[in-house]
Structures are given as C-alpha cells and as structure tokens.
C-alpha cells in the first residue's frame, strides 16, 4: 500500500483529569476511505481535533508523507491540504451558506475595492451554488442564514466546505448523523468521489452498514488507544463490534 499519507504515533491528550487519548496511533493512506470507529468517548473526536490543528496533543508525533509536522493551528493543517467536518459542524449560523463555504478564505473584488477588503459576494455565491450543485447539496435558497436550514442541510454544507478546499485529506466526524436516507447516500457518494480523486477520507461513523459499504479499511479506537485494524472486505460487523467493546483485541494494532 506504500507509504502512509498521514500517520499519528502515540498521541496523548488530557483534559484536566480526563485522558481522552492515551497513546493513540492512526494511519491513513492516499486514495482510501478509512473508517475510524469506537464507542462514545473513545476519543475519536479528540483524535480528529489533534490531527486538524484545533487541539495540540500533550505528546506523540504526527507525520505527513513521512515527515514530522506541527499542526499548531487549523490554518496550519489547512495549508497542508487537510480539511475537517467537525462533529459540532463549526459553522456560523447567522451567515449564509456561501459565506460559510468561504469563511476565512473570502474572495475580494478585483481592483482597488479589493485592496480595501471589499468582498466579491456575487462571485462567492456563484461558486458556492456551483459547488453545492456538483455535490448534490440541495438548498431552497443560498440567501438565508445557515441556522435557518435543517440540521441535515447544515451538515451537507459543512461537508461541502471541507471537500471543496481539501487537496490531500478530509476528516469527517459523524457527517451523516443528522441526515435522511437520500442525503446520507449523497454524502457517501461524495466520500467515494473524493477518494477516487486520490485523497484520503477519514470517516467517523456509528453506522456499521455504512462503514462496511463505503470504507476500504477500518481502525478501531477504544479508551483513547487504537486497538484493532481491519481491511473492510475481510471483516464483519461482529468483528468490528467486538473490537469496539473490548471483546476482541489485536496485538500491536
């Protein structure tokens, strides 16, 4: 399978007395969908935050293309082509979908107006509508605050935002949790499409059929540690659940 795109080794992260990560490792390869699963509180979201620059691990190392990297801010991770759909979405509810899509990377008008920081809202809205169409995100209007949309639509916008900007790797922390059947299928289509473009997708999900349907590999986190790794084609729901609950463990995972 070649060299990993992203590798985390022995990450430790504590919040006060809570040990969210206790030496967690993680690997993702280019051109694959890797599912990251584990019980509630296993540390999945914390791992994603450490790998996308939102939190800094207390110890451990992160390697991109085999080189150690410091992800001391979300901007640093984004500069490396790593985008994230956070479990809490991290959208600005009072801004419209286009403004959210371009948040932090706003387009300015060409010419002198742009030097003063004047935004090119028209162009941003046009490109946003185009992206939403490409990704199968249906919104009645791109003009309303995102907080007025349904939970599923908000989630779709967050997914679109990550996919549009990513060039190497996308983390998706439970991106389908609030979605109906149709929207869920669309997001999974997007996941496959992103993988087929050669990027890595890290999908966190509690839905085992979904994990089996879309992922190429599975890594299992339990109590802040990686406890098992599977190739999806050669595993079963029973095995995955066993690894999550601790009934089954692998040496050296």
């Amino acid at each position: 399978m070649g060299e990993p795109l992203l590798e985390a080794r022995d990450l430790v992260k504590t919040y006060g007395s809570v040990e969210a990560l206790r030496g967690a490792s993680f690997t993702a390869y280019a051109g694959e969908v890797v599912a990251l699963i584990g019980d509630n509180g296993a540390g999945k979201s914390t791992l994603v935050k450490c790998l996308s620059g939102v939190e800094q691990p207390d110890s451990g190392s992160v390697l991109l293309d085999g080189e150690p990297v410091r992800l001391d801010s979300p901007t640093a991770a984004r500069a490396l082509g790593v985008e994230t759909v956070y479990q809490d979405l991290a959208v600005a509810p009072d801004l419209d979908p286009a403004a959210n899509l371009f948040l932090g990377r706003e387009l300015r008008k060409p010419g002198p107006l742009g030097w003063f920081g004047v935004l090119d809202d028209k162009e941003m809205r046009r490109r946003a509508a185009e992206s939403f169409r490409d990704l199968g995100v249906s919104l009645q209007s791109v003009d309303v605050p995102i907080g007025a949309l349904s939970g599923g639509q908000r989630q779709s916008v967050a997914v679109a935002r990550s996919v549009v900007w990513a060039s190497r790797l996308v983390f998706m922390d439970e991106p389908t949790a609030a979605l109906g059947v149709v929207q869920r299928e669309r997001v999974l289509d997007v996941v496959r499409r992103v993988r087929d473009q050669g990027m890595a997708v890290v999908l966190i999900s509690h839905n085992m059929p979904e994990v089996l349907a879309v992922s190429d590999r599975v890594e299992v986190l339990r109590l802040g540690r990686r406890v098992a790794r599977f190739t999806t084609a050669r595993t079963t729901v029973e095995e995955l659940v066993g690894a999550m609950t601790g009934a089954l463990s692998q040496e050296g995972a």
Partner: protein, 329 residues
C-alpha cells in the same frame, strides 16, 4: 445591492424603520407646525451626532457578542486630554489658537480613545476576561482618570475656530457635526456590510470557535474591534468638545447605555452575529425623536425613558423569540 436589501429585510431593521417613521408621522400630525421645521430637525440631528458616532463603534462590538460600557467615560477622558493639551500648547488658554492646535487636539483625542480601546481589547481577547467586566472597569477608570487630570472640573479654553468650525458651523445649511457623524456612519456601514473585516466581525459573533477553526485571527480581530470603538469614542469626545466648547466631566454617565439601547433598538442582537449600522442609525433616532416629540406636543418628558424602555424590551424579546424559533429546527 441585493445582499444589502436582504440584510435590511432579514434583521429587524425594516420593522424598526417603520416604528421610527410612525413616530415622526404621529408627532407630525399632532403638531405639523413644530415638528417638521428645519430647526427641530437640525437640533435633533446635532444632539444625536455624538451619540451616533459612539453607537457605530458599539454596533461592531455588540455584533461580536461583546459589550462596551466604557464609551461615555472614554469620551470624557479624550475630551479632557484633548482640551488640556490644546491649552498647554497655548500658554494655558487655547481660545485664540489656530488650526494647528486643533489638529493636535484631534490627534490627542483619537489616541486617548485608542489607548482605552486597545486596553479593553487586549483584556477581552487576550486575557479572556468577559467584556462586561473589562469595560465596567474601564468605565470607572477612564472617568476617574479624566477627573484626576482635570481636578474634577470642566476644562474650558476650547479654540474658537474649533467651536465655530466644527461645533456650530454649517455647510449648505447642514451642521458640520452632522456631516462628520454621517461620514463616520457611512464608512462604518460600508466596512461592516461589504468588507472582509465586517464579515469576520459577524462570523466571530455568530460562532467564535467556528471562526477560529476557519483560520480567522479571532484574538487580533477582537482587539481591533474594541480599538475601533475606543477611537470612535475619542472622536465623539472631540465632537462634544467642539459643540459645547468645554470638556465636560459630567453628564456622560449614561452615554454607554444610550448607545447600547440605540444599537439594540436598531436590530443588532446582543447574542452577536446579527446587526447593521443602518439599523443603529434608526435605533439611535428613536429615543431622540421621542424626546423631541414629547417636548413639542407637551407630554411630560419623563415619559421618554419609559417609552424607550418599552420599545427596547419589545425589540429584544422579538429577537429572542426569533432565535428560539430558528434554533428549534
């Protein structure tokens, strides 16, 4: 243009504009002779100019879901330092001084405001102290510092050229103070509504953590927003100095509350993320129109704060129920 129209309609701005028009119409119908005269209009505008400049800065602060209680005290402090500097440059009495002195006075007022704004911003954004507490502190400290400097009395000796030029001068019948306030407001509205700085101000107020994760420099931005409010309070101090020809250390205890009331009446949400300078203009004029109107039609003027309070509570209640309805989806 469509985005401006959309923002106007989506905030409470449209609604509050109708309230303002309604008030003017009612007072106008009761006393058509007095209300719509040039003089009434002019004095209302002039008296509101200083408050409007404070309120423009306050709009930015409140959109970030912050608050600035210090603006009235910073206004006093800036007026005092400015007047005292101008006097000191002219042997203790600047009454006869020229424009050079006035420019120095302006610079001192702006810098004084900037210093307090920077302090507020650093304490809020860097130290993470709640803005209510930080600016309650500078509310007391800036007033105290101003009174210490002036020995607790008003500072007179304001240059005549300043009083006659900016203070009471007019340009084609429009008071210069009003023009200055209008210019500040227009720039404030454009920056908030059309630029990246404005967009980030909304984003931070809407969801600070989302803004941070989107790579927006939240700390630096908040410092700049409080800095802006401070500079505008300094400018307001200079405008008051020009108008009253004295740096008054009293009479500004409730400027902060008047500015907050105007901003909130104008549809800016105390929860952050929503608001506009256009709304603030309307919101600032509602109390002013009520006061003028009550005087003109002979209603006891003590009804004015009560009427403002009712509208204010209604406005916030409206905003809150709108948010609740939205968040339940």
């Amino acid at each position: 243009m469509t985005s401006l129209a959309r923002r106007l309609a989506s905030a409470n701005t449209l609604w509050i504009g109708l309230v303002l028009l309604g008030l003017i119409a009612v007072f106008g119908a009761l006393r058509p002779d007095a209300v719509l005269t040039v003089f009434t209009l002019q004095t209302t505008l002039v008296e509101t100019s200083v408050l409007l400049v404070l309120s423009v800065g306050m709009t930015y602060v409140i959109i970030t879901s912050g608050i600035d209680l210090s603006v009235g005290s910073v206004l006093v402090f800036s007026g005092v330092t400015s007047a005292m500097t101008m006097n000191a440059l002219n042997g203790g009495d600047a009454t006869g001084a020229g424009w050079g002195t006035v420019l120095v006075g302006l610079a001192v007022a702006l810098l004084s405001g900037a210093a307090w704004g920077l302090l507020n911003g650093l304490l809020v954004a860097r130290a993470g102290i709640p803005p209510l507490i930080v600016t309650l502190g500078s509310f007391g400290a800036a007033l105290g510092a101003g009174q210490l400097l002036s020995d607790g009395s008003n500072v007179s000796g304001v240059p005549d050229v300043l009083g006659e030029g900016l203070g009471t001068g007019t340009w084609f019948g429009v008071p210069n103070l009003v023009l200055l306030a209008a210019a500040v407001t227009a720039v404030g509205a454009l920056v908030l509504g059309t630029t990246r700085f404005g967009r980030h101000t909304y984003a931070i107020g809407s969801n600070e953590e989302a803004a941070r994760r989107a790579g927006i420099g939240v700390t630096g931005h908040l410092v700049r927003v409080y800095l802006l409010a401070g500079v505008l309070a300094g400018l307001a101090g200079f405008m008051a100095l020009a108008y009253f020809r004295v740096a008054s250390v009293t009479g500004h205890d409730t400027d902060n509350l008047n500015a907050i009331a105007g901003v909130v009446l104008g549809g800016t949400s105390l929860f952050g993320g929503v608001g506009s300078v256009v709304g603030t203009v309307l919101g600032v004029f509602i109390p002013a129109v009520l006061r003028k109107g009550f005087v003109i039609v002979g209603v006891n003027v003590y009804w004015q704060p009560i009427a403002v309070a009712l509208v204010l509570v209604a406005a916030v209640w409206f905003d809150q129920s709108r948010r609740k309805a939205r968040n339940q989806r």
